[in-house]
Amino acid sequence: MLRIIFIITAFSLLLPLAEAKGVFQQPSEFISESFAGQPPEPQIIWLSKAMRKQIEEILQHKYRGLRIRYYLKDGRSVWVLDETGKEKPITTGFVINNSKIEQVKVLVFRESRGWEVRYPFFTKQFIDSTITEKNELSKPIDGISGATLSVRALTKLARVALLLNQHITKQK
């Protein structure tokens, strides 16, 4: 009996770890799905010094890259961005419609902890968020205990996606 209880306990403890890491959706599939199966050609935004500085202020670290690709069609833009939670990058997809976040989806999670950020109860908090003048989100995002760094990474990415979207909207 004790053995069975031990096996069940061990299994229930290891189960979350088993589903913690992984590719939940391929970025190309997310992009295609966001445009109902007819994705536009990718476009690129070259980062000016000022733009890069703003991104680095949000991320609180250096950003290594001079351009970021995005997909734009009928006023909706899709961004697939990476940010490290604790040790490894979390790949997240953002759909922005009319300067508001329409969808947030964790596509690839490589960390061993903090995977709860991929669940809709967390990601739906971002919906309808806009970016303020101080490059903050217009809506507060509640954290998840034990997933602080992943929450922080996703919040930063949401701000970057909205900032980049604002930039391309101004350019148009």
């Binding site: 970025p27 990718p42 690129i44 290594r64 970021i68």
Partner: protein, 260 residues
């Protein structure tokens, strides 16, 4: 005294002697390194960098294995022990193997197993393109009419557009594949210097020798702890031997005085 009688008594001075011999080496090391550390400034130990390959290897400051290099225009892209270099500048640390590098226009593209890294002429990263979701692992990278081409593990060829945003499948064509080139000894020295960063100061080595961390980061300090305990035991056992001998001598003198 017979041999059997000697065994019965507690050979305290023998243990003292053995302990002393064991502790000797550590005591000398502790004392010498301690004196040196007391005079770090005057000995300028923080400015002296250690060049011994043995020590640099021990500290993991020498790259392992052999470097691999590719030429892209006038620039040299190389990888040594996971570190990727642009000329002698450290770019990124990536466990994937560097498969080649090509230059087209102002862009330099280097291929890893599952990604393509785009650089500008100054070696700044333009974009790190994750190819793992679109293609199987890459085998090699090359150029065809100034366009970047890749060949995957199953020998499928894809050619990138001008902005390197889209990849189109292509038939086998005359592609100039990037091939590795030998690194000269001066280039290797330059990469080693970059790999080591600030290098290894003599002060660090002496400090680690003094604390025991030189032997092992985990259990090295316990060796020095053990030698410190040995010194304490030596002091106590030394005092015990002196005191017990004094007592014996007193008893002997008293006996001789009153029983002659």
């Amino acid at each position: 005294m017979t041999r059997s009688n000697r065994k019965k008594g507690f050979p305290f001075f023998l243990w003292h002697r053995r302990l002393g011999l064991i502790a000797l080496l550590f005591m000398v090391a502790l004392a010498v390194t301690g004196i040196m550390l007391n005079h770090t400034e005057s000995l300028k130990m923080n400015r002296v960098s250690v060049e011994s390959d043995l020590l640099l290897n021990w500290y993991g400051l020498n790259p392992k294995g052999k470097p691999v290099g590719y030429k892209a225009d006038n620039n040299f892209i190389s990888q040594w022990d996971h570190q990727i270099f642009f000329n002698s500048m450290a770019l990124i640390n990536n466990k994937s193997i560097l498969l080649g590098a090509v230059a087209t226009g102002d862009i330099i593209a280097l291929s890893l197993n599952k990604s393509i890294l785009l650089l500008n002429a100054a070696g700044e990263i333009i974009e790190h393109i994750d190819m793992s979701f679109k293609f199987e692992p890459i085998k090699k990278i090359g150029l065809i009419n100034q366009s970047i081409a890749i060949q995957t593990q199953s020998n499928k060829i894809y050619i990138a557009d001008k902005d390197i945003l889209n990849w189109q499948p292509a038939n086998r064509a005359e592609i100039n594949w990037s091939t590795p080139v030998e690194l000269s000894s001066s280039q290797q020295q330059s990469l080693k210097k970059t790999f080591r960063g600030n290098g290894l100061s003599l002060e660090r080595v002496i400090l680690d020798l003094h604390s025991g961390r030189l032997f092992s980061a985990n259990w090295g300090i316990y060796i020095m702890d053990a030698s410190a305990i040995m010194i304490i035991l030596l002091s106590l056992s030394g005092f015990w031997i002196w005191w017990s001998r004094t007592q014996k001598l007193k008893t002997k003198k008293h006996y001789q005085k009153h029983h002659k």
